[in-house]
């Protein structure tokens, strides 16, 4: 087939320009910046300046630890919940399906700031509806903002509420692509619904589950708004500080671009590792 270089690039040029300037070049640039001392004028090439500081910085390890802790707990809980939502929403027995779908999918359109504000108010120590409800069934109030464990739990609850339905939408689309006759054959063979779930649904859904998990991990890894607004700048005392928040503080409060770029590339390294695991997990068996 003949080439149509001129025509093709006329269509591509505007997008490619933006894509190069605001995506491809920054990816390279931030890698280079991470090897420079950026608080001197002009910036100075200093390969170990930021990275050396990073590996000895307790604040970095605190943020890394918090981020990984949220990842390890929140993502599996949320994905499991999303699978349950998707499977049940897909059930032919369900009545008023539209209402249930609205309930689970609605958080997808809610902005981070709006829902952070609501969660902050709902979990308020003395006047929050959550503690009032706990008290009304005889349980003590929880100080969600002054202690690390409840504060971390609150962040995880908030993120799960916001994103479970999003994952359920993707999983539901995957479920609907599984042909009905697979289940019909299994039902004829008297395979129980539970067994059908574990031996048909889950294996066929595996690539989509892995896809959702990777998206969620990469999203949660950059968690910023929730600890910024709900637990107020990663409080209490850095207890919910994440890598995203550390990057913000270093880059945009202290204007330490070199160090912040090293933090950013740590996230990129994690993302690349996770993407490679995804490729390996979803590799077609030979």
């Amino acid at each position: 087939m003949r080439h149509q270089n001129a025509t093709a690039y006329r269509f591509l040029a505007p997008y490619l320009l933006i894509f190069s300037v605001f995506w491809v070049w920054p990816i390279i640039s931030s890698f280079l910046i991470s090897f420079q001392a950026t608080r001197t004028v002009p910036w100075r090439w200093a390969p170990t300046f930021n990275w050396g500081r990073l590996i000895g910085d307790p604040a970095f390890f605190n943020a890394l630890k918090n981020t990984l802790l949220i990842l390890v707990i929140q993502v599996p809980v949320m994905i499991s919940l999303a699978i349950v939502m998707a499977v049940l929403l897909n059930s032919p027995l369900l009545k008023a399906r539209g209402l249930y779908r609205f309930a689970f999918f609605a958080p997808v359109v809610v902005g981070e700031v709006a829902y952070s504000a609501v969660f902050r108010l709902m979990f308020n120590l003395n006047f929050g509806i959550i503690n009032k409800l706990l008290n009304s069934v005889g349980l003590p109030s929880i100080d969600w903002f002054s202690n690390v464990t409840p504060a971390m739990a609150l962040i995880m609850i908030a993120v799960t509420w916001r994103w479970a339905g999003y994952n359920a939408i993707i999983l539901l689309a995957g479920l609907q692509s599984i042909p009905d006759d697979v289940y019909e054959a299994a039902t004829l063979d008297r395979v129980s619904k539970v067994k059908q779930f574990f031996y048909i649904t889950l294996p066929l859904l595996k690539p989509i589950i892995v896809f959702c998990a990777v998206l969620s991990i990469i999203g949660t890894m950059q968690l910023f708004t929730e600890p910024f607004l709900i637990t107020e700048r990663g409080g209490p005392g850095g207890g919910t500080e994440t890598l995203g928040l550390l990057l913000y503080r270093q880059g945009f409060r202290s204007l330490n671009f070199g160090y912040a770029s090293a933090v950013a590339y740590t996230m990129a390294g994690l993302a690349i590792a996770i993407t490679l695991v995804q490729l390996w997990l979803t590799k077609e068996p030979k």
Partner: protein, 278 residues
């Protein structure tokens, strides 16, 4: 009743008994947002349990407007989201069209770079973008700063490439035989055929721009240049601020999107299911 339909009924009841409380829990924060937005501050911070809306919404809106120019911020947010959505749909569908329907030198490289970098975290480009826009181009606190950098998003390119490559090529060839120019084929044959995909893409992009927080927070931090989420975010954590007002702002940000979601659910779900928003 046969034992089979009895079992079916039992399963159906169990399903609803499980799913209904879960759905109510999921709706609860949204419901409370609406309730809070209609309560005076001394009602929000009182020991009683209030689960029904009051009638203080207008006062709360006024309180919010006193704390920050929220109406102005909404105006910026709407204009930015509309412009961004239009430009992004246009640019990415042009690129998607080129990748789907032409053979050209470098096509493989372009696709490889897009796919190879799509899972990189946005955080990686944040600092260079900020340095470029704020320092090199001196564009902080402008509309251009809010609209142009986020146009790099490649979701639309992949989405529209997919859409255009599924269309029958004969259709376009027929137009070419007639001597119709390529850009006319794109505008008047391909784009109209892709209308459902364009709608799905536009909704997702509009929502992403409307809710975008981190970039506008960094680049447009001056009061008169803030978007609505940023303006609202500055109030959270302040001591002398009307929380009823903040909730009224949250409602104004959220409820229009919920209405759009209900009206255009099919497009919404198609857009999300086709890939990630990010």
């Amino acid at each position: 009743m046969s034992s089979r339909s009895q079992a079916r009924l039992g399963r159906s009841i169990a399903l609803h008994l499980f799913l209904t409380p879960l759905a109510l829990i999921w709706l609860f924060p949204l419901w409370m947002m609406v309730v809070f937005s209609t309560m005076p501050d001394n009602g929000i911070f009182s020991p009683g349990i209030e689960l029904l809306p009051h009638d203080n919404f207008i006062d709360n809106v006024n309180n919010l407007q006193r704390d920050t120019n929220f109406v102005g911020a909404i105006g910026i947010s709407v204009s930015v989201a509309v412009t961004y959505t239009f430009l992004s749909v246009l640019l990415t569908s042009m690129a998607g069209w080129a990748l789907a329907r032409y053979n050209f030198v470098g096509k493989g490289v372009v696709v490889a770079i897009i796919l190879g970098t799509i899972t990189l975290p946005y955080a990686v480009v944040l600092i260079p973008q900020f340095i470029m826009v704020a320092r090199d181009f001196q564009l902080a606190n402008t509309w251009v700063a809010l609209i142009v950098p986020p146009l790099f998003n490649s979701l639309g390119v992949l989405f529209m490439r997919q859409a255009f490559s599924m269309m029958p090529g004969d259709l376009f060839d027929a137009a070419r035989v007639e001597g119709v120019k390529e850009w006319r084929i794109f505008l008047f044959v391909a784009l109209p055929l892709a209308r459902p995909m364009l709608a799905a893409l536009a909704i997702i992009l509009f929502l992403a721009s409307w809710n975008n927080y981190l970039w506008p927070l960094l680049i447009n931090s001056q009061p008169g240049a803030m978007t609505a989420p940023v303006a609202l975010g500055t109030l959270i954590g302040l001591t002398k601020v009307s929380w009823g007002g903040i909730m009224a702002g949250a409602v104004m940000l959220t409820v229009p999107m919920l209405v759009v979601f209900v009206l255009l659910q099919r497009h919404f779900i198609a857009g999300i299911a086709a890939g990630a928003i990010k």
